[in-house]
Amino acid sequence: MVDVSQHELVPDHTVLDDPEEVEAVLEEYNVNKTNLPKIKRTDPALRETEAETGDVVRIERDSRTADRAVVYRLVVE
């Protein structure tokens, strides 16, 4: 099967392994995990990573306005 994460239009998805890192993100935006945008565990872009439900994923994508944009998503069922 095609690994979409290699496609140029699919931005980099990395799982935040370090709980402290996750904590820092939540701290920065002053939110609960559940208030982050969501991504399905079955999302094709996550296939290569070993994301579990409840993990937080960092997505770095090209942006038309800011060149590079970083967003975080909570992995859900």
Partner: protein
């Protein structure tokens, strides 16, 4: 009542209501269907019982003792003779029937599954997902069970079998059961007969069957003769022995009372597992046994002119319900047959259903005697005119006015001309103080009819007095401090102005009032684009603001000049339009020369009152000024700008002097005029407002100086040009004829991915398009550059070269659905052509120009194309309106937070940084070439702020101020003891 101050709501909870609660809160039981007796008095325990509230003024409520107006009314109740289903819950009822056991009422889920769904519910709540989805999933899971995991069927000794539930809309439920077929004896007998096709099958004798099934022989014989219906065990034994199926599906109707009993058995913890709060919503409450009767105030009767009373639709419906309810009871007591009882039950169900919702599919709506469908509970709430969208979100408002709009180029774009009639009707509240006492008295003494006058005054004790022509003089003297005076609108007041449809935020802007005679609102033509207004009869609304906070907000945030830049595309939406653009074009295109008188006249409506150095002298020795020099007078002194207009003209502005290029739509127009855009972003909204106002004035003066008109002769071209056009079209016709011939000979090669027919059509279309274009070119060549239509098209003021081509050269191919016209008769478009004629004229090519006039056939084809356009726009507006509504509903709760994120009301992050770069689209440059030079803006601001180099250096931190100065060395303090501060205004 203590409803004056807004209250904060902690939470709202929705649930079902317990029938006991209905009874408790009921003011009376309603038993008679009649409303008033012969004397016109409401009947006790009738639908208009005085205990349900009062509507007639002067009467006293029998429940609360208040009068009409202060009594909100009280609910009554009807005891239903038999339970009926509440239509609003039919789906949930169906789901619960399917998910729970018919015997014990327990949810057909194991404890682990229940646990799992409880968790999922928790998760859904946390993530802000729809708990309904979890419920649906749980029901699906429970339905799969087939047998109850908790109870044992006494007759079989197996777990209870769950039957399928069939729901017949709207309110009938069946249980699909397997029962013994009515033809069981015939089925058994035929199975015992030997098979005629199979010689080995000897059939089966009754004795043999009796042995195999352990049923006594005489019982077998009785069964075979149809005298005895075998019990379930025996049936199964026979089925096994004979390998047949003796059952058929039977639909067992579930009466509402059965469903109620069923639901009563469902344990609390089971429904809580699927997200229903048993404390507030027991499922059996979805089956009504008591019907609440809305208070009379919710269904007032009206007295017609002839003294007859006309009842509300809800009252009519309640009458029906009570009548049927009574008939039902009487029949049941009289011991009527089951069939009749069931019919009445169904009728009662129908009436209660339509009382709640009269637009249920599958049920004929209850109608008034006149045939009009009744407007019952759900209809009162639903839709655009319903309670939510019509009465709560949208109300009619005071202090608003609406009239036709017309243009007034002498107004500033911030202003609106308000008719005197409107100004004297709409008021602003003045709090009278020491400082405005005289003014307030003058307003009052002018009375309600003089302008500026006053309509009401309010004394400190709260009494409101109307100012009349008679008492105004007298009243004016009484006015003291702390009174309130409702004075008329006067020049300079701020009001809100709006044109529907309000599609973007610039559809509602704040304007300053200019009171004017006559009856229309007047506005500067440059604000037409944001409102999308014209003056062909458009009307607009005006709202007078009623408190200082609103007025201040409107002035700071909503004034027209604050809306010059559109957040949609980040450029100006307000700017020169139409004649303004023609005007600046005429003024700057050939850079004409003006005498002193002419130059002063052009600038007379602007703030420029001295002319610059003349640009030169004419042959007679008189000084002259060029158009560009006059235009430059309006520009900021240090503006430097270079850009290429879409006409390909390089415009150069250096130090506020327009040196080269033509000022057209791309320079000063609305929707991204480069100069307006730059001035707004670099010099601020106020400078931009001044610039736009003055450009409009100068342009109007200039277009009047040159004179600008357009007639039919401006579109005529010389005879030889006409001949050239004809020749070009003739050429095209010949080539098309050739194409058709190749096609007829079968030699036309098809383009990739198309059939030969399509290829031919395409090629013909292409050729005809080219023919029109060349006709256009020929026509264009013969128009002078001073042709008004050409000026308008080139400057971008109005119209295009295509419009010109069609007026002077050739209208071209008419199309319906993107193809040549192919409809009408069989194999031809009109009966004037031969069948299967593929030529241009037979398929809607209009070779004439609008000026030359169309032939009847051309005219018809043109109308076909034109009609399609009209239909398209009509469809598009309605479609886009709905799309917009949905989009706005979806986005309305999103908000950019102070930390730069965009979140919805529940705090969920939608964007981590607004637009990913955290920038407002109106604060950035429109394109890369014209980047905003922030440094130069800062320099300018600082230069203006400080008079001395020293202070400037100190402010910038390049020079440290001396510290610990002796009192004698530093600047002295003034008497007030504060450092003198100069106003920065």
């Amino acid at each position: 009542m203590a409803l004056d101050s807004p209250k904060e709501l902690g939470a709202i909870q929705f649930g079902l209501m317990d029938p006991e609660t209905y009874r408790d809160m009921s003011a009376t039981k309603v038993i008679t269907a009649d409303t008033y007796d012969d004397d016109g008095y409401p009947i006790d325990m009738g639908l208009m019982d005085p205990r349900l509230g009062v509507i007639d003024p002067g009467l006293e409520c029998r429940t609360c003792g208040q009068h009409s107006g202060s009594c909100n009314g009280h609910f009554g109740h009807i005891e239903l003779a038999a339970p009926v289903i509440h239509v609003g819950f039919t789906k949930l009822i169906r789901r619960l029937l399917r998910a729970t056991c018919r015997e014990c009422g327990r949810l057909s889920l194991t404890d682990e599954e229940k646990e799992e769904f409880s968790e999922k519910l928790e998760r859904a709540k946390e993530l802000g997902e729809d708990p309904n989805d979890v419920l649906k999933a749980a029901i699906r899971q429970a339905r799969k069970a087939g047998r109850c995991p908790y109870c044992i069927d006494q007759s079989t000794g197996e777990p209870t079998k769950q039957h399928d539930i069939k729901h017949e809309k709207p309110t009938t439920y069946y249980e699909v059961q397997d029962v013994l077929s009515g033809e069981y004896s015939e089925l058994i007998a035929s199975a015992m007969q030997p098979d005629p096709d199979d010689e080995d099958d000897p059939g089966m004798a009754p004795q043999e069957l009796a042995e195999k099934t352990d049923i006594p022989l005489d019982r077998i014989n009785q069964i075979l003769s149809g005298e005895f219906r075998p019990k379930a065990d025996d049936r199964k034994a026979i089925e096994r022995a004979l390998d047949i199926d003796l059952t058929e599906e039977d639909m067992n109707k579930l009466m509402p009372s059965d469903i109620r009993d069923w639901f009563e058995d469902i344990p609390d913890e089971d429904i809580e597992a699927i997200g229903i709060d048993a404390e507030r919503s027991r499922p059996e409450w979805m089956i009504l046994t008591v019907l609440p009767v809305p208070p009379v105030t919710a269904r007032p009767s009206i007295t017609l002119d002839n003294g007859q009373r006309s009842e509300d639709d809800l009252t009519h419906k309640l009458v029906d319900i009570i009548r049927i309810n009574q008939r039902f009871m009487e029949n049941r007591e009289a011991g009527a047959p089951q069939l009749i009882i069931e019919d009445l039950w169904e009728l009662l169900q129908y009436h209660v259903t339509t009382f709640i919702d009269n637009e249920i599919s599958g049920t004929p709506p209850a109608r008034h005697r006149s045939g009009r469908p009744l407007k019952t509970l759900s209809q009162r709430l639903k839709g655009k005119e319903g309670r939510f969208r019509g009465s709560l979100s949208g109300k009619r408002v005071n202090f608003s006015a609406r009239t036709v709009i017309s243009p007034d180029p002498t107004l500033s774009l911030n202003e609106v001309g308000v008719p005197r009639r409107v100004a004297t009707e709409m008021t602003q509240t003045m709090n009278v103080t020491e400082r405005n006492l005289d003014r307030a008295r003058r307003f009052v003494s002018n009375g309600p009819e003089g302008h500026p006058g006053a309509n009401y005054v309010k004394r400190p004790d709260g009494r409101r007095l109307k100012v009349t022509e008679k008492n105004c003089e007298e009243l004016a003297e009484k006015v003291e401090e702390e009174w309130e005076v409702n004075r008329h609108l006067i020049d300079g007041d701020i009001v809100i102005f709006n044109r529907q449809p309000s599609l973007h935020r610039m559809s509602i802007m704040a304007h300053e009032v200019v009171v004017m005679p006559y009856k229309t609102f007047r506005l500067n033509t440059t604000v037409c684009p944001p409102y999308n207004a014209d003056f062909d009869g458009d009307e607009m609304n005006m709202h007078a603001l009623q408190n200082e906070e609103a007025r201040a907000e409107a002035r700071v945030l909503m004034r027209v000049q604050e809306q010059i830049l559109s957040p949609r595309f980040g450029e100006n939406i307000i700017g020169a339009i139409q004649d303004h653009i023609s005007g600046t074009y005429l003024l700057t295109h050939e850079n004409p020369q003006f005498s002193e008188t002419q130059a002063l006249d052009l600038l007379r409506a602007t703030s420029v009152d001295t002319l610059p150095e003349p640009n030169g002298e004419t042959e007679t020795g008189d000084p002259y000024w060029t158009g560009r020099a006059l235009f430059s007078e309006l520009l900021p002194d240090d503006l430097s700008l270079e850009f290429t207009s879409s006409a390909g003209d390089d415009v150069v502005i250096e130090d506020g002097q327009h040196l080269e290029g033509t000022i057209d739509e791309d320079a000063v127009g609305a929707f991204g005029g480069e100069i307006v855009d730059t001035i707004t972003k670099v010099y601020g909204e106020t400078r931009a407002r001044i610039f736009i106002n003055e450009i409009a004035s100068l342009a109007m003066r200039s277009i009047m100086h040159f004179g600008f008109s357009l007639g039919i002769d401006d579109e005529s071209i010389p005879e030889e040009a006409n001949e050239m056009v004809d020749e070009a079209i003739e050429n095209a016709y010949e080539q098309i004829q050739e194409l058709i011939e190749t096609y007829a000979a079968g030699e036309l090669e098809s383009l990739p991915g198309r059939t030969v027919d399509e290829t031919l059509e395409m090629k013909i279309m292409q050729r005809l398009g080219k023919a029109r274009d060349s006709a256009g070119e020929i026509a264009e060549d013969h128009f002078g550059d001073d042709n008004p239509a050409v000026i308008m098209a080139r400057s971008g003021a109005r119209g295009s070269m295509l419009n010109l081509t069609q007026m002077a050269g050739c209208v071209g191919q008419q199309a319906v659905r993107g193809e040549r016209i192919n409809r009408g008769y069989e194999d031809r478009t009109l009966s004037h052509f031969r069948p299967n004629d593929l030529s241009a004229e037979a398929h809607g090519f209009v070779e004439n120009s609008y000026r030359g006039g169309l032939t009847p056939k051309e005219f018809f084809f043109h109308a076909m194309g034109g009609r399609e356009g009209l239909v398209d726009t009509a469809v598009r507006t309605s479609k886009s309106g709905y799309l917009q509504r949905r989009l706005i509903n979806a986005l309305s709760e999103l908000e950019a937070q102070y930390d730069g994120t965009v979140r919805d009301t529940s705090g969920t992050i939608v964007q981590f940084e607004f637009g990913e770069d955290g920038t407002s689209p109106v604060k950035v440059s429109s394109n890369v070439e014209n980047e905003i030079d922030v440094g130069s803006i800062a320099d300018r601001v600082i230069d203006n702020e400080f008079t001395s180099e020293e202070e400037k250096a100190r402010f910038l931190g390049t020079q440290e101020p001396p510290t610990n100065l002796s009192e004698y060395a530093g600047p002295g303090l003034n008497k007030a003891g504060t450092q003198e501060v100069e106003s920065d205004d």
